[in-house]
Symmetry: C2
Subunit: 143 residues, 2 copies
């Protein structure tokens, strides 16, 4: 099985030292959507958190030696499904970013941990519980 | 640009009515990892929440008519990047699930919203802030 994934846009930043994780980042950058997707971003609001899914396109290929990896500043090996390493069976990353400006197809975000030029493959609303869900209603909640 | 994505395993459930979103689900199922990835799951613990990334393999193809969609039980169209629809530019889904049992390559999870047979492409730790991060240390936090 192969899935044909294509970027919806690319991420750009002039930050020189990219923070290792969005939870410890106050760096910023811009997601430039392909023009054809601008309309799909019209309900993203300034101030909102969004989930950004991207490709670790600079990561080397995954081998069975990477099933366990020693995370930065940890002293023991851990299974790759319990850590945030960019070297993964599928090179997919996920960050929760804060939107601070929107200008057409350009979404400015803070809290970034992606390299300059990173291909973006999806944006989703950041939903923590049922009350965050845009399609929630009392009807659904009592379902 | 095409990315070669392959399943790390598949999800199985006998739940007949799949809840529409993990935030409103108390249904359960099992992630069966391909045997080659069993070791990569060894640090996943019972009781833990995990992020599961999967393919909406039953979704029809995305067209420009899907840039705006009317979510279930909403009365207005919204941009696809602000809703959880399975019809997306890239058919990638993400759920936060709770692990209630682990048996070798089988991870039993609660809160599921995936269809029986769904291909799983990544599992990540559920990190909400820097204190959840397995590789966090004081050294990193003051970086």
């Amino acid at each position: 099985m192969k899935v044909d994934i294509k970027p919806i846009g690319f991420f750009y930043t002039d930050t020189e030292k990219i923070p290792r994780h969005w939870t410890v980042s106050d760096a910023s950058g811009v997601i430039c959507l392909e023009k054809e997707y601008t309309k799909a971003a019209r309900d993203i609001k300034v101030g909102q958190n969004i989930i950004v899914i991207f490709i670790f396109d600079k990561s080397r290929g995954f081998t069975k030696d990477d099933l366990l990896q020693t995370p930065l500043h940890k002293n023991k090996k851990m299974g790759v499904f319990s850590i945030c390493s960019p070297v993964r069976p599928n090179p997919i990353g996920m960050s929760v970013l804060n939107v601070f400006a929107i200008n057409g197809n350009k979404i400015s975000v803070n809290g970034i941990d992606m390299l300059n030029g990173t291909p973006i493959i999806d944006i989703k609303p950041h939903i923590k519980d049922k009350y965050d869900c845009p399609s929630c209603s009392e009807t659904m909640e009592t379902k």
